[in-house]
């Protein structure tokens, strides 16, 4: 089920900027609309909306989260089989495979190539067939708390 936007929307356009599939349309200062056939339910619009105008697929109000506190994937390379499913699952393309710096292992392992681009959707973790990815707020940000 697609996410939706209620008429509480103030038309700030923040969600448009973060939607990875260009599913949100609307004029500035006017109520925006999510195209239900395009929405992939990543939740980025809900996390960024400052006026809580976004509802998830089940109609629940989405609570905004400061961007620095968005969860990011943490990789457990012991479980990882380098299958690259996570890289393909990422709707913004922020993951990449690279050899581990110290190991002799010639296989590459996934990591966050572009941390800023990550929208914290968690698709990489949910599609990982070996539970090698967990989503967590980056430690340094947790320590700094909401001011991070």
């Amino acid at each position: 089920m697609s996410f939706t936007i209620t008429d509480e929307c103030n038309g700030c356009g923040a969600c448009v900027k973060f939607c990875p599939v260009d599913a949100i349309r609307g004029e500035k200062q006017e109520v925006h609309v999510i195209h239900d056939m395009l929405c992939i339910e990543c939740g980025a619009c809900g996390r960024i909306c400052p006026v809580e105008a976004v509802r998830d697929g089940e109609g629940n109000r989405c609570v905004p989260v400061r961007k620095s506190m968005w969860e990011k994937p943490v990789f457990n390379h012991k479980n990882c089989i380098s299958c690259t499913i996570c890289i393909d699952a990422c709707p913004v393309g922020c993951l990449a495979l690279a050899r581990l710096p110290t190991a002799k292992d010639p296989h590459g392992y996934p990591g966050l190539k572009d941390e800023k681009a990550c929208i914290g959707c968690g698709f990489c973790a949910s599609e990982c067939p070996t539970d090698a990815i967990t989503m967590a707020v980056p430690e340094i940000k947790v320590k700094r708390g909401a001011h991070g």
Partner: protein, 651 residues
């Protein structure tokens, strides 16, 4: 809501520049799966009888797999399908990389393209729209360069399948490339894309792929992944030649467990077999006339898998692959990076031409990948030309001054360049050995080794007659990726399917060469199973793990919500085989004409080497194989009864 499949296809008509979406009924997926089966169903129905493969009526179908994107491992293969200009019959080619999930992430199970565009175009598809765009700026560029340009203009998540110079020039041995020089090489479908003036298909979608029970799929994948990671220390690469020689001396055949081959693949890739295959008689040498006595272990030492591995910068994993048999290598000269040459390429451009200059093999592999020309057919056609030159059928005048002798790597490189550019003798050879022999005339025909116009893969049917059988009976002849005795041993289907013969660890080598019902049952099982595998989008190398270790059928059930038995899936595989054969009959193919050239089945037999004195009873094996499908045993044509029994509706 469908599960595992997207339930829609995209249709493009390049002549009318129209694009539309079509819902596919669930019953089609239930009867044909997705991928190859879906394409076979659509193309059989829609390509008119006698259509020119390079004309507007031919349909080029890009399909993903049923299991692609569901969390199943090894499910990253896409296929391109159409009427083959090389054989005149059913054509398909298979490739990995990242293009398969990209099709589904745009919301489709397949993209089917007909018509001919007036000007070079590329098809751009996202989850929202599909449009044709001008491709004049990338026309003429090689596949790697053009892919980079198209990704730069459409976004970093774009996935591209495209042709190189060979496809643009309609070489009948050209394929379709993706991911920096991987290639769906066989059946000549690059020429079909070139004839349509379609440079590329660029996909940039991010749709989610529905799965019935993702946790169940993941559970199965987790277990399978553990088998893949299991790796024991192996002998050094240089010892592989001696292992091959040891197997040549043994009077008995050891049934191969795919776990051993898996370990070779994980360590070295397909190149693990480079020397071993020559020594044991699996690799054809000197255009199928030679053996390890001509191409000695000393000569083939340059292709020692350890030497190739030294160039490896990082392993290459296709989408959903835990194995990583590919590699990105550094190379000397013009190209800094290249995909590691596969076994097929190393033998076709190496031993088959008596060439042991590894630098030339690295260079030719990259050159052909960029041009989008099949390394198997290109190498085999070069070997054909060398034999013609050595036997006086063509002269130095014909070759434009090239000294086309066995193993002359400088001349081989020049010849391949000429084939890609279609210059001089290259123009004569650019459509494969059968066409070249027709053009040259005289005795040339006797030097061309092919099945129905397609050069066979680099596995010798005189060593494993299963290959010779599948080269000759498949609707896509000459293919080494469907079946052989060794594949049957590794698939271990008898462990999950009732009634299939089990193979004991040791059996007498001599027993391989005679035709009997057991071999036909094994052959038919390979064909049926590979249709399921190609409908699911799985990788052949994954299936080598063995049916108990790779849960093909359980994955499909978990991902779709169906609850079918392996036997029912094999029935679907049989249905797909019959549709492909009916496609060929519709287009005027006589299945008997796909018979592999005599010398490759030991007619006449070799006088020395691992396969000396061996002749395969190929006609007997073919007859028995066709009986397994209920087809006419003399003509290979499906009977009315077998069509009804397989559940194909003539609508």
């Amino acid at each position: 809501m469908p599960d595992a499949y997207m339930g829609s296809i995209l249709r493009v008509d390049l002549s009318g520049e129209t694009i539309s979406e079509e819902r596919i009924p669930d019953s089609i997926y239930e009867n044909y799966l997705s991928g190859l089966g879906l394409a076979a169903y659509i193309l059989f129905k829609e390509i008119p009888a006698g259509a020119d493969p390079l004309g507007p009526d031919n349909i080029l179908g890009f399909v993903s797999g049923l299991l692609t994107g569901t969390g199943s491992l090894f499910a990253g293969r896409w296929m391109v399908t159409g009427k083959s200009p090389l054989t005149g019959g059913w054509g398909d080619a298979n490739c990995g990389g990242t293009f398969s999930p990209a099709i589904k992430r745009c919301g489709y199970d397949g993209i089917f393209i007909r018509g001919i565009s007036e000007n070079p175009v590329y098809l751009y598809v996202t989850g929202e729209k599909a449009e044709l765009r001008d491709a004049s700026h990338v026309w003429g560029k090689d596949a790697v360069e053009a892919e980079k340009m198209l990704v730069a203009e459409t976004g970093p998540r774009s996935r591209v399948a495209l042709i190189g110079e060979a496809g643009e020039k309609r070489s009948l041995i050209s394929g379709i490339c993706n991911d920096g020089g991987r290639i769906a090489a066989r059946s000549g479908l690059g020429a079909v894309m070139g004839s349509k003036r379609l440079k590329a298909v660029v996909l940039n979608g991010a749709k989610r792929i529905p799965v019935h029970d993702r946790d169940a799929v993941h559970k199965l994948s987790g277990k399978c992944g553990q088998w893949v990671r299991m790796q024991s220390p192996l002998i050094p690469g240089g010892m592989m030649a001696y292992l091959g020689a040891f197997m040549r001396f043994l009077p008995v055949q050891m049934a191969l467990d795919g776990m051993l081959y898996k370990m070779f693949l994980r360590k070295w890739g397909t190149g693990s077999m480079n020397q071993m295959s020559v020594e044991m008689g699996d690799a054809p040498v000197k255009n199928w006339l030679g053996s390890h006595i001509d191409f000695t272990a000393k000569k083939s030492a340059a292709t020692n898998p350890d030497i190739l591995k030294q160039r490896e910068i990082i392993k290459y994993h296709c989408y959903a692959c835990p194995l990583g048999c590919g590699g990105i290598c550094s190379t000397k000269g013009k190209y800094a990076r290249t995909h590691k040459p596969e076994y097929e390429s190393v033998i076709a451009l190496g031993g088959l031409c008596m060439n042991n200059d590894i630098e030339s093999i690295f260079y030719l592999n990259e050159l052909l990948n960029r041009a989008g020309m099949d390394t198997i057919s290109a190498g085999a056609t070069v070997a054909f030309a060398i034999e013609c030159y050595e036997s006086g059928v063509i002269t130095r005048h014909d070759t434009g001054g090239l000294e086309l002798t066995w193993g002359n790597s400088t001349a081989i490189v020049e010849l391949v360049r000429a084939m890609i550019r279609r210059e001089g003798i290259g123009d004569i050879l650019a459509d494969g050995s059968r066409k070249a022999a027709e053009r040259i005339g005289g005795d040339a025909k006797s030097h061309a080794v092919h099945a129905g116009g397609q050069e066979p893969g680099m596995h010798d049917g005189r060593d494993d007659p299963g290959y010779a059988l599948h080269y000759s009976v498949e609707p896509t002849p000459g293919r080494h990726t469907i079946g052989s005795f060794m594949y049957y041993e590794m698939f271990q289907l008898w462990k999950v399917i009732k009634g299939l013969p089990r193979i004991w660890p040791l059996y007498m080598k001599g027993s391989k060469y005679t035709a009997n019902k057991k071999k036909a049952v094994m052959g038919a099982a390979c064909s049926r199973f590979m249709n399921v595998v190609n409908g699911a989008g799985l990788c052949l190398f994954g299936t080598f793990l063995g049916a108990k270790r790779i849960p093909t059928f359980d994955w499909i059930n978990a991902a779709t919500g169906w609850s079918r038995t392996p036997e029912e899936y094999m029935e679907i595989g049989g249905r797909i085989q019959t549709v492909k054969q009916l496609f060929n009959i519709k287009h005027g193919i006589e299945p008997n004409n796909f018979l592999l050239t005599g010398r490759a089945t030991g007619d006449p037999p070799l006088v020395e080497g691992a396969n000396a004195g061996r002749t395969v009873d190929i006609k007997g094996m073919i007859r028995d194989y066709w009986k397994q499908f209920g087809w006419d045993e003399k003509t290979g044509k499906p009977t009315a009864e077998s069509v009804i029994r397989s559940g194909i509706r003539e609508d």
